[in-house]
């Protein structure tokens, strides 16, 4: 194979695949700009997206807003817990020696690579045994268990805070807690951004856990709520939807989805400086 032919083949392949990835996303965003009152999508304007959003808001007296609010509570609450609990733990695992350290590291790695949905039914059994189903704070707390965040922090402190630095601080007479507060914490900003970002996104998009722990339609999160919008759309259930006063067609569903993605993008923008500094690669490597 001649080099020129190989080069062309490589570029064409990459571009074709890129089209395959980008085209559906772009087409979906365009649907959000269309108008549809049951006769098929027409037009293309920002104004349409706004109108569609107003329609979505009228669904079940604005239940979408409650869903978004609940998502915000569990995603933010879970991320705060994950950071507050994970940063000290990751630091201790990386730089302190204590009995059970290897076991804790092992448990962290294991719970990290096991898909978290496998634990959802056991969590449901546990939570219902203590009668805490439908408690949004319990969900936030459980989402705060984020072994991947502990692992990220562990890697962060292993790669950026050399043991000699800590040894020197020890010789200077700082206690271990002081070292964490005054040496490690100020150096943990990238880890905080990473853990906060990954945890927030995982919590925001979590579907199974809120589905079983927040079963009431009004008190659940947006990821459980979106499919409810779909199933009451005339597109997928004409007989049932005929009785509803709010009719959601493809543009309305697309706008609802795009609104749902917005917070993830916002958090990405906030955290991106830490994310694009190669930290993510270094951390997962």
């Amino acid at each position: 194979m001649s080099p020129a032919l190989g080069r062309t083949g490589r570029i064409v392949t990459l571009l074709l695949v890129a089209t395959g990835f980008a085209y559906p996303v772009a087409a979906f965003a365009v649907v959000g700009l269309r108008r549809d009152d049951g006769t098929g999508p027409t037009g293309l304007a920002l104004r349409n997206a706004w109108d569609s959003w107003q329609t979505v808001l009228r669904f079940n007296d604005g239940v979408v807003l409650s869903w978004l609010g609940n998502s915000l509570i569990v995603a933010t609450g879970g991320a705060l817990v994950a950071v507050a609990v994970g940063i000290p733990a990751g630091y201790a695992l990386a730089r302190l020696r204590f009995p059970g350290r290897r076991l804790l590291r092992f448990c962290t790695l294991l719970t990290m690579v096991v898909p978290n949905t496998v634990l959802v039914i056991p969590l449901y059994l546990e939570v219902s045994a203590v009668g805490a189903v439908n408690n949004i704070w319990v969900v936030a707390l459980l989402m705060g268990f984020h072994p991947f965040g502990v692992y990220l922090t562990y890697i962060h402190f292993r790669t950026t805070l050399p043991a000699p630095v800590l040894e020197a601080a020890r010789i200077d007479g700082l206690s271990e807690t002081d070292i964490f507060r005054r040496v490690a914490l100020p150096a943990s900003k990238p880890a905080v951004a990473l853990v906060g970002f990954f945890s927030f996104v995982a919590n925001w998009t979590n579907f199974f856990l809120p589905l079983v722990l927040l079963p009431l339609s009004s008190s659940t999160t947006i990821s459980v709520g979106l499919p409810q919008l779909v199933s009451s759309s005339p597109l997928f259930d004409p007989t049932n939807a005929a009785g509803l006063d709010v009719r959601l067609y493809a543009p309305q569903l697309a706008v609802a989805t795009l609104v749902t993605v917005a917070p993830v993008l916002a958090v990405f923008v906030i955290a991106q400086r830490a994310l694009t500094r190669g930290q993510m690669l270094g951390a997962t490597r």
């Binding site: 990459l14 000290p88 302190l96 790695l109 898909p115 496998v118 020197a168």
Partner: protein, 325 residues
């Protein structure tokens, strides 16, 4: 990162040269010389680690243990039932069916993922400069539409009445969503969905691995007369092999927990797809519809055993988590 590292470490370096490396704690404990320091160190470690240990228990170990206990109860949950709940689960006709569905999906998805991701990562790696990074970013883009959002996008793609790829569905002779999303097609649809959502992240990860191959290795290959193809196949691929094992195993474990996509698809197609298409969905129906808690627990334990087994392989064998300590 580098700027910060240099600021933090340089002033300390001379001291480090004066004082030798710290003695490993295990030895300290044996000789008992600095017993007090070790004790206060331990207390600090306990303070830092305890909240996490509590969450690890409440969010991981206790529910897993509780599921094991529950699964050993009898049907009326009044006493010990031995393995009767497991027998009920295994004799459920849907049990084997759900695992068959997962196996079929994995059979299509894993090779697609492995070949697709490795191919794309190698091609991106061979494209220096802005073109390569732009392509990598575009592949990563659908990953932002995680979970339900990705599902919504696919719903729109799969519905011949809405889809921008409707020509494809018409080519297959499908005119409605229910024809496209018929049970026989589901493994393919899921494989495509999961690839679309996850491939970009893995391309980024593998690119990182490829990027860390030292220049002199590639230079040596070039001097030995290796072309782009030979370099990719004989030099780059072997060097990212641990990653490929990691990718395969993690995605294998992921396959067993599939829930969201078939669940919502079943909801949307009004039962055209069985609501218990995957093992996790079956467990969900035991807990929420049949209300047989021991059965739900038994199903969870089976899934946990499988995914923990795969997880152990990842942690122990892939070599990515070894740091010698």
């Amino acid at each position: 990162m580098t700027t910060y590292r240099s600021i933090q470490t340089e002033p300390w370096t001379p001291r480090h040269q004066v004082h030798p490396q710290p003695v490993p704690a295990r030895k300290v404990r044996r000789t008992g010389k600095t017993g007090r320091a070790v004790r206060t160190g331990r207390r600090a470690a306990a303070v830092l680690v305890l909240p996490y240990v509590a969450l690890l228990l409440v969010g991981g170990l206790v529910p897993a243990g509780y599921a094991v206990v529950k699964s050993l109860q009898n049907e009326s949950e009044t006493g010990f039932g031995g393995i009767s709940s497991y027998q009920r689960v295994v004799s459920d006709l849907r049990f084997a069916e759900t695992f068959g569905n997962v196996a079929l999906t994995l059979l299509i998805w894993l090779p697609l993922m492995l070949i697709g991701v490795v191919g794309l990562a190698l091609l991106v790696d061979a494209s220096p400069g802005r073109f390569g990074t732009t392509m990598r970013f575009i592949y990563y883009l659908p990953g932002a539409l995680a979970g339900v959002a990705n599902f919504m996008l696919w719903l729109f793609l799969l519905d011949p009445g809405q889809s921008p790829i409707a020509f494809l569905w018409h080519g297959f002779g499908y005119g409605t969503l229910n024809e496209v999303a018929q049970p026989g097609n589901l493994p393919y649809i899921l494989a495509a969905m999961l690839f679309f959502q996850g491939a970009g992240t893995w391309v980024v990860v593998l690119s990182g691995g490829l990027h860390s191959i030292p220049d002199h290795v590639l230079e040596a290959a070039r001097i030995d007369g290796a072309g782009a193809w030979d370099t990719a196949w004989r030099v780059k691929l072997p060097m990212i092999r641990p990653w490929l094992g990691y990718l395969t195993l993690l995605n294998l474990a992921y396959g067993f927990q599939l829930f969201l996509e078939p669940q919502v698809l079943s909801q949307v197609t009004h039962g055209l797809i069985a609501p218990q298409w995957t093992p996790n969905q079956l467990g969900f129906s035991y807990a929420y519809q049949i209300l047989d808690t021991p059965m739900a627990a038994a199903m969870s334990v089976i899934l946990l055993a499988i995914t923990l087994g795969v997880g152990l392989l990842v942690v122990r064998r892939s070599g990515l988590f070894d740091d010698g300590r």
